[in-house]
Amino acid sequence: MIELVNLRKEYDDVLAVDDLTLTIPQGEIFGLIGPNGAGKTTTIRMACGLLAPTMGQARVAGVDVAQEPERAQQNIGYLSDFFAVYEDLKVWEYLDYFAHAYKMPEPEIPARITEVIARVNLEAKREAMIRGLSRGMKQRLGIARAIIHRPKVMLLDEPASGLDPKARLELRHLLRSLRDQGATILISSHILTELEGFCTSIGIMEKGRMVRHGSIEEVTAAATSTRLVKLTWAGDSLAAVGEKLKSDPRASDVSLSGGAGTFRFSGAEEELAPVLAGLVAANVRLTSFGEVKQTVEELYMKLSTHEVM
């Protein structure tokens, strides 16, 4: 759905994006992670046609954004970290303007405006002047603008910066529901917790290059060769647990104290089952046993500090 082929952007003598090649299939929520200045905004601006690439190609829904920008825009919903709106319009007029600007069929527009206003919970403000809305409401209106034309692809550049926690949660719900409807979403952020449990795949950018990308599982697997397993137990089983784990050649870095501990396991996920069974057989009264999933933040820290490169 989104294809970036050898995309490159030079600003004077600075290489902002360096031959970036990336394909994001339909229905994915792709998190673009990286520090400020990594090239995330430049990549998104090139993908939505705001910026002409120095070289390479950006295709959205099969349309070359540079060659046929207006056709490509039909499929793109763009949202950036600021939610600038026309203050001298009413809420419905603002959405009507963009619906017409995206050349939606005229008969569909009124119903779509009503639908989108309901979706961002602004029904009560439909006839209100935008200048009278609170910041949060204006942000919701910005989101409504981005989805008014039912885009197949959403390009979101730090969309949650400046949003309060409730609005962030609403934005997540909205994006999930868009994904469920088949939309493909490319979202950039340097606040990694924002993307946690939300993206289906991620890409880590640094100095204009894609350091690593793929599904979260793939990136995790590439980032680490061992799994961190945490377990807790009831009663005095410390010695039994220690003995059992030390006898397993796949376990390492065993750290136990009181009724809890962690160890690193080099086997596959399904190979953890016999370990669990062995502990139970050794009369250890386990209360919990499981792999500790790495957060996006931990993954990023590992990859960006070149631990696995």
Binding site: K9, E10, Y11, D12, D13, V14, L15, A16, D18, N36, G37, A38, G39, K40, T41, T42, R45, C48, G49, L50, L51, A52, T54, M55, P69, E70, R71, Q73, Q74, I76, Y78, S80, F82, A84, V85, Y86, D88, L89, K90, E93, Y97, F98, H100, A101, Y102, K103, R145, E206, K207, G208, R209
Partner: protein, 536 residues
């Protein structure tokens, strides 16, 4: 392409600016002002009549009686005409001023409000945005003029003007406003949000320049005065207090043409160039704005050259101290050639500015050139080959123009040969200056073109000082200094044919060498390695 009244950008402005309460208020204010103005005009004419009647009572002469009778008969006609002139004058000022200034903030204002990117990501084409803005930004003043239009029409007709004249004045106003609006919008496109103040100053300058064109009525290109609303009003309303207007009619290829036609031709053609620049650039990111493609720039330079010969009015012979002399800018073909060379200096420099290539594009061109994918005459290449083409086109047009005017301004071969050398010299100096600006664009200077231009001013100032110092040791030394460092000698009317002093050719050689140095410096800049990151 949507119809203009359903153009989303126009509809947005109409909705924002013309809410019912505001529209009714504006309409009421306009009508109230019209009524007050009408009463004032009626009162003014009444005062004239009453003072004439008092004169009649006091003196009782036939002359006073005739005057009173004339004023009584003409009272309604005079009052309506005065009323019409005030109405149309005020509308003219409001329309031109408001259109220019609202359009001059249209794009920079959107950039300032951070709404521009969202508009650029819609499916609206550049043409649609452009049409929407030119019609939408000043929609309030259009509405005010529309409210006053029926009253103006009635006043004009009652004042004795023909229907055609009244409509012509509106057309004249519309054309001038269109030109000013497009000029303002182009200015706004060139400015980032933080330089909006500069935009307003630029808009004021454009307004002053357009109004000031009226001064051209007495010059060698009198038709240019038609760009100013003043010239058109004077002619169309049959009220020309300035006899110069009759002495210098608007001429096109030596034939007198109505001011309105000239206004339509000039405002229309300049508006078309502005519209082309806007349509090319409206949806581009700010650093990627380039007014015209290379061929379009050559076309624009050719058009401006064409205008010189189309609009020029040769000096008219008149009796001077018993002999015949010519009065005006262009007494002979040599003066026309000198003028054309001087104008081409300006045209080539402006064209050079319009064709400066951003560093990014120039690097890509250089890479492609290394692999044979791109040519010297590519759109993203250096500007100098295109300046050369423009100079050749300008010379060809000069030959055509001077031959066309041969019947009034006899041409000799020496003029053409001399003009060739002069144009070559000007083209070399301009190429040097433009390449210097191109080099500045590749440095890390902030506002490189502006700073480069200031450096050039500094250079010419220094050249003047050095010439002054050289003058201490003799006139010949000063002449050499001037010829080596500046193109001033080009405009020496005493030089016949190709008999330029050696210093002039020395200057030509020196500047060609400097161009070589600049090209090497540009190439060196383009070979620097790239840095990564921290660009956004």
């Amino acid at each position: 392409m949507t119809r203009f009244w359903t153009n989303p950008e126009f509809v947005r402005h109409r909705r924002a600016e013309l809410r019912p309460v505001r529209a009714i208020t504006v309409g009421a204010v306009v009508i109230a002002m019209c009524v007050l103005l009408g009463m004032a005009c009626w009162s003014y004419e009444r005062n004239i009549l009453e003072s004439a009647m008092r004169g009649l009572e006091t003196y009782g002469t036939q002359a006073w009686k005739d005057r009173v009778e004339h004023l009584q008969v003409q009272f309604a006609h005079n009052a309506w005409l005065l009323y019409y002139r005030w109405l149309i004058g005020l509308q003219g000022v409001a329309l031109t001023f408001w259109t220019l200034f609202s359009c001059a903030q249209s794009v920079s204002g959107e950039r300032d409000r951070k709404t521009w990117d969202f508009q650029r990501t819609t499916r609206l084409s550049s043409v649609e945005i452009h049409v929407g803005k030119i019609l939408g930004e000043p929609v309030l003043v259009y509405f005010a003029v529309l409210c006053a239009a029926p009253i103006t029409l009635i006043a004009g007709l009652a004042g004795g003007l023909s229907f055609g004249t009244v409509i012509s004045v509106f057309v004249f106003l519309a054309m001038t406003s269109l030109f000013l609006g497009l000029g303002g919008m182009w200015l706004s496109t060139l400015l980032e949000s933080r330089t909006r103040g500069v935009g307003l100053i630029g808009a004021l300058a454009l307004y002053g320049l357009t109004m000031g064109m009226y001064g051209m009525k007495g010059g060698g290109l009198p038709g240019l005065a038609a760009m100013s609303p003043l010239a058109g009003f004077m002619d169309l309303l049959g009220h020309s207090p300035d006899s110069a207007l009759q002495r210098f009619p608007a001429v096109l290829f030596g034939r007198e043409v109505p001011w309105l036609l000239m206004n339509i031709l000039l405002c229309g053609s300049f508006s078309a160039w502005l519209a082309l620049m806007l349509i090319r650039n409206l949806k581009r990111d700010y650093p990627e704005i380039r007014p015209l493609s290379r061929w379009q720039a050559v076309g624009c330079a050719a058009f401006l050259n064409f205008l010189i010969y189309a609009l020029l009015s040769p000096a008219k012979p008149h009796d001077f101290l018993g002999g015949m002399a010519r009065q005006g800018w262009f007494p002979d073909s040599k003066t026309v050639a000198l003028f054309a060379v001087a104008m081409n200096g300006l045209i080539l420099f402006l064209m050079g500015l319009a064709t400066l290539t951003p560093q990014e594009r120039l690097k890509v061109w250089r890479r492609k050139r290394a692999t044979g994918e791109s040519a010297v005459f590519a759109n993203d290449g250096l500007p100098w080959p295109w300046l050369g083409i423009s100079a050749v086109v300008a010379y060809a047009l000069m030959i055509w123009g001077l031959l066309a005017w041969d019947h009034s301004l006899p041409l000799d071969m020496g003029t053409l040969q001399g003009a060739a050398i002069r144009l070559l010299l000007v083209a070399v100096f301009v190429t040097r200056d433009v390449l210097f600006l191109q080099w500045c664009l590749l440095t890390r200077l902030r506002q490189p073109v502006v700073k480069g231009f200031l450096f050039l001013c500094l250079y010419y100032g220094a050249a003047a000082v050095l010439t002054g110092l050289a003058a201490v040791s003799g006139e010949e030394a000063a002449r050499w200094m001037l010829a080596l460092l500046t193109p001033v000698q080009v405009f020496d009317p005493n030089i016949k044919g190709m008999a330029f002093p050696v210093a002039t050719y020395g200057g030509l050689a020196l500047q060609t060498g400097i161009i070589g140095v600049l090209l090497t410096a540009i190439s060196g800049r383009l070979q620097r390695p790239m840095r990564t990151g921290a660009a956004a």
